[in-house]
Every structure is written in structure tokens, then in C-alpha cells.
């Protein structure tokens, strides 16, 4: 499968690197020679120096043979033109474009059904706001993803020292709780991914990933001694596109929200748009201002400026001054592993969410979503089990699953089943698979259909 990527920025770089590991034929176009060199030096893919919206560069990249075009430059306009040109040269290439301007929100469907026929418009900022909303409503969660229209979620939590499950073996948990515990798919300990079996122990400091039905999440969280605390006060730092989307969302909720923005013009626009949210003009990393605005009484301080260093500092400062929780927007992937070390737990990244959306559309089989967990060592995939595929019609234990992969739930009609080795997947069931990066090519193969499938 050939994929042409326009834009060698953080998203383009990461998608190219992931796909090259999955043996896909990738060409990256960018007009910035430094960005192109960084790709050429680090990843085994073809690179082209030139504008991604130019018909000549696209033809050089082999757009006519490409199955998928990804337009992920920093500019919405370049991405749109790249798709438009590709639509003319190669109408059957599937097109995915990142479009961030909220003015386009209403046009996603139109762009799909009419020229430039963009199959998927990705606006990672919408997704990030949803993630923030989910994190705020889930006590102690540091990572959340949803499947089956939100009926099933995966949640990542840090296990605290005093939690009652700290130190216990997985197979002891039912006895300790007096009931079946949640399905624990993975544990990250010292940055290492562990897929636990019955005799593995949960240790304090572990980042634990489990699957839960939506209506049982709060109960499940109490098992890990994470208790719901109401969210009454929120402070947003940064009134850019994401800050403004989040403020608009919170405006309709019974939450006292304040937003700090240092550009007076943006403040004026925000104040006009928002009803209840208090708009403050100032610097979110200014201790005096934070003090004045009673940061110590905030349930959440959410830092969303375009400068990630400021976000990190403002979050640390707010935490230190007594804010209960912080959520920090980070873009550079190399910072991720540092965050928990310096005490920043909840992190969101528009780029990571763009990558998740993109990968879902590139996978073989009918993959509905794929979400990487922190550190990107593994991912949860929701897929439809298709007739004739290897998955259906026989007990799970008879299917040759690659090491590091497991079926975590089966969704049949309205029922959610946590499978055992004897469970049999039926055609058109939806399944949620957890798989390490190494196992993904094999999982893709298991999801594909046989020749007889029409």
C-alpha cells in the first residue's frame, strides 16, 4: 500500500515512521529542506523537497499509484489545495486532511461529498477538547479513550502507594474485592510496557490500563481508590483555538470557569462570545495573577497556550500553589516521557490525536478507531469482525493471536462481553483489541477478509 504524506512536521514525521515499520510504501513531501532532511536521516521512506500542493511534486511522489494521501502541513489552505490537486490527478486516491480552523466545522461533510472529495477531515482540536472533558469527569484518569460510541472506555490511572490493590497479584484481586475486577490490559512500569498475567503484581506508581463499560467506570475507579470529586471551578490558560473551544463547551455547564489570555484582541472576542465564563487579560504563568484569581481553589487548571514550555511551567506553578488537578497541552513527543517525572500527570496532545485518527483510516480490515496509549508502545483498536476473517466462528483460544495482543471486549448488538478463551466471535460483532506495536501487522492480517468476501 502506497501512502503520500504532505507535510513533514511532527504529525507527518510520526505517521511516516509508524507506517514504515508496518512495511507500507511511504513518500513524504515538504518544502522545508530541514524537515525533509530530518525524515531522510531518521526513517526509511522516500522524500521529495517541494510544495505539497503542487501538481508536479504530487506526480513526482506517485500520487496516481497512491492509495492514500495525507495532507498534514501546518496550513489548512495548503492541505485543502493538495487534496484538490490530488482529486484532479488521481480521483480514486483516498484523501485525509487536517483542517483546524473552526470556520470549516460545518463544511466537513460538504468537502467529503463534493470536490475535493476529502474522505476524512481531521480536526484534532475538537478531539482534544473532548478528551479534556472526559479527563475532567473521570477522577484520577490520566488517559482515556472511547469505543462503541462511548459505551466502552479504556482508562489509564496511576496506582498510588496507599491504594488497596498496590502490591497484590492479579489473580488475588477477585478474592480481595469479593467480585471480579476489571480487565487489566496493560501496565506501564518505569516506561516499560507489561501485559500482565495472573501472577503479575500491581505496584505503586504503575500506570494501569483497563477496559470498562461507561456506566461502571466510577465503580471501577473506586477499586483503585480513585473517588469522584465534583468539578466546580476551572481555570483555562490560553484563549487560542483549543482554549476557546473548551471555554465554549464549559460555558453551558454549571462550572465557574475563568480563562486567561494575554492578547487583548483575543480577550475582547472571547468576552463577546462567552456568557458566563470570566475572561481575564494577562499572563497565565504570572504567579501574582494566579494568586489574585485564587488558583488554590481551582479543581482544574488547564494550560492550552501555543507555547508548550509556558504550559508546563504554568501547570507546575498552579499545582504548587494548590490547584487540585492540571491538564497540560504538549506538542513535542520527546517531552512526553518527561512529564510524569516532573509531576505532570494529565497531558493532552492535538498531534497525538491527529495521528490516532489517521492510523485508524490506514489499517486494513474494518477498523473503526485505533488509539495509542501513553508512550505509543501499544494501541487499542476497535474493529468489525468481518465474515470470512480468521476471527469469526471459532473459539478465541484456537485463533493464532500474535504475542502481545488480546481481545478485550466483544460488542454484540447491545451487549458487551468480556471474552474468555471459549468465546466465539460472530460476523459483524464489534471487537476491541489491545496490541503492542510489534503485534499490529499480524492483527491487521487477522482482521482482513478472505477472497470469498464480497
Amino acid at each position: 500500500m502506497k501512502v503520500v504524506i504532505v507535510g513533514a512536521g511532527e504529525v507527518g514525521f510520526h505517521v511516516a515512521s509508524r507506517l514504515s515499520h508496518e512495511n507500507k510504501d511511504v513518500v513524504v513531501i515538504d518544502k522545508d529542506s530541514d524537515a525533509i532532511r530530518r525524515i531522510a536521516d531518521n526513517i526509511d521512506v522516500q522524500v521529495i523537497l517541494g510544495s505539497g500542493s503542487s501538481p508536479v511534486s504530487l506526480e513526482d511522489a506517485g500520487i496516481k499509484e497512491a492509495e492514500i494521501l495525507l495532507a498534514v502541513t501546518n496550513s489548512d489552505e495548503t492541505n485543502l489545495v493538495a487534496c484538490l490537486v490530488a482529486n484532479i490527478i488521481s480521483p480514486y486516491t483516498k484523501k485525509l486532511a487536517r483542517i483546524r480552523n473552526a470556520d470549516f466545522d460545518k463544511y466537513h461533510a460538504i468537502f467529503r461529498d463534493h470536490a475535493p472529495h476529502i474522505d476524512t477531515l481531521i480536526n484534532p482540536e475538537i478531539e482534544v477538547v473532548k478528551t479534556i472533558d472526559r479527563l475532567m469527569n473521570m477522577p484520577g484518569a490520566v488517559d482515556v479513550g472511547k469505543f462503541a460510541n462511548g459505551r466502552v472506555k479504556f482508562i489509564g490511572i496511576n496506582l498510588e502507594k496507599k491504594a488497596r490493590l498496590a502490591g497484590s497479584r492479579l489473580d488475588e484481586i477477585p478474592a480481595l474485592l469479593g467480585k471480579q475486577g476489571p480487565l487489566i490490559a496493560a501496565v506501564i512500569r518505569d516506561e516499560e510496557l507489561i501485559i500482565p498475567s495472573g501472577d503479575d503484581r500491581l505496584m505503586p506508581g504503575d500506570l494501569i490500563y483497563f477496559i470498562s463499560e461507561e456506566d461502571k467506570i466510577l465503580d471501577t475507579l473506586t477499586i483503585f481508590d480513585k473517588h469522584a470529586e465534583p468539578v466546580n471551578r476551572v481555570l483555562i490558560v490560553g484563549g487560542g483555538r483549543i482554549g476557546s473551544r473548551l471555554a465554549t463547551l464549559l460555558d453551558d455547564k454549571p462550572i465557574h470557569t475563568k480563562i486567561i489570555e494575554k492578547n487583548p484582541d483575543i480577550c475582547a472576542k472571547l468576552a463577546e462570545k462567552l456568557n458566563k465564563v470570566v475572561v481575564l487579560h494577562g499572563d497565565g504563568s504570572d504567579q501574582g495573577l494566579l494568586n489574585e484569581e485564587n488558583v488554590q481553589e481551582m479543581d482544574f487548571v488547564i494550560t492550552l497556550t501555543n507555547d508548550e514550555e509556558i504550559n508546563i511551567l504554568a501547570s507546575l506553578l498552579a499545582k504548587r500553589m494548590g490547584a487540585r488537578k492540571t491538564i497540560t497541552k504538549i506538542s513535542k513527543f520527546s517531552y512526553f516521557s518527561l512529564m510524569s517525572m516532573i509531576g505532570i500527570e494529565q497531558v493532552v496532545s492535538p498531534r497525538l490525536s491527529a495521528i490516532n485518527t489517521i492510523l485508524q483510516h490506514i489499517r486494513r480490515g474494518k477498523v473503526l478507531s485505533s488509539i495509542s496509549i501513553k508512550g505509543e508502545q501499544a494501541e487499542f483498536m476497535e474493529a468489525v469482525a468481518l465474515e470470512t476473517s480468521e476471527l469469526v466462528g471459532k473459539p478465541l483460544k484456537n485463533i493464532s493471536f500474535p504475542k502481545g495482543a488480546l481481545v478485550t471486549s466483544i460488542i454484540r448488538n447491545d451487549n458487551i462481553i468480556i471474552p474468555s478463551g471459549d468465546s466465539i466471535i460472530k460476523p459483524d460483532d464489534r471487537i476491541i483489541i489491545f496490541a503492542t506495536r510489534q503485534a499490529i501487522p499480524k492483527i491487521e492480517k487477522i482482521l482482513t477478509v478472505k477472497l470469498e468476501y464480497f
Binding site: K94, T448, Y453
Partner: protein
């Protein structure tokens, strides 16, 4: 069933030009679209979508792209030969030379499965395959398939 009941002579392409999956499917769809009077783009999209669920490159140099479409009133087939071979993402990783393309109505009652089974069976027959591969034009291909049909 006889293959030539659903494969018309004008849908036999003896020299496919494209060197990639998408291009080959486009070429093979042209006669199918005009026989069925259905928009070519729509058909290519359906077939490419099907390929994404799992490749129809079954190895041994053979590709049988296929799909279901509501706009079709009956089963339509096209045939193509690629002299150079095409990367069809086949199971054995080898280039594909012989192509049958099938598009069937959405409510088809299993006829398409019978045809698919028959095509994959006759292509296991090496002398038949060799004859096809060395055919020079669509007339010759037509008569090779006719011979096979007569034996059926």
C-alpha cells in the same frame, strides 16, 4: 455456469498498461462501467474499499478484484492480462498477471460465489494459465476461455 455468459468480448483487455493496483482496477472497470451503465468512479471506489478489507491478490500471479453494488442489475465481469506484472499486494508477494474483475448486484443469490469458485478453480489448472499468459490478443483469450467453458 459459463464464464462467457457474463464476460463479454469487449471486456477482455489483452494488454493492461498500469503497473499498480489502483491503475489496473481502473482499466478493468472501464468496460464494466459501460456494459452496466454505471458511473465508473463509483465502481472503482467500491472495489478499492473491498481491497482495503483484504487483498484479492490470491498469489500465483492472479488477482480477482470484486465487489457488490446496488446499481447493478446483473453480474458483470472483465478480464485483463498484464505483461509486466502488477504489485497487487498478493499473499505470496509476487506480481500478478491475470485478472478477473467481478461486480455483482447487492441482492445476488450466490451466483457470484459460484463464479468466483469456478474462476479460482480453473486458474489452478497450469496449462490453461499458460495458454492465457501467452495469448496475443483478446480474440485468442476469448477462444481459450470458450474452450474451457465448453468442457464445463
Amino acid at each position: 455456469m459459463k464464464i462467457l455468459d457474463v464476460l463479454y468480448k469487449e471486456a477482455i483487455l489483452s494488454d493492461l498498461k498500469s503497473l499498480d493496483k489502483k491503475g489496473v482496477i481502473e482499466e478493468l472497470v472501464i468496460p464494466v462501467a459501460s456494459i452496466a451503465c454505471v458511473n465508473k468512479e463509483k465502481i472503482v471506489r467500491v472495489l478499492m474499499k473491498r481491497e482495503r478489507l483484504g487483498s484479492t491478490g490470491i498469489g500465483e500471479g492472479i488477482g480477482i478484484p470484486h465487489g457488490k453494488m446496488r446499481d447493478f442489475k446483473s453480474l458483470v465481469v472483465s478480464f485483463g492480462l498484464s505483461r509486466q506484472g502488477v504489485d497487487f499486494e498478493s499473499i505470496d508477494g509476487r506480481p500478478a498477471h491475470i485478472f478477473f474483475l467481478l461486480v455483482t448486484p447487492e441482492n445476488s443469490t450466490g451466483l457470484h460465489l459460484k463464479l468466483l469458485a469456478r474462476i479460482s478453480r480453473i486458474l489452478k489448472n497450469d496449462p490453461f494459465k499458460e495458454r492465457l499468459l501467452s495469448a496475443v490478443d483478446s480474440d485468442e483469450i476469448f477462444s481459450i476461455i470458450k474452450n474451457e467453458d465448453d468442457e464445463f
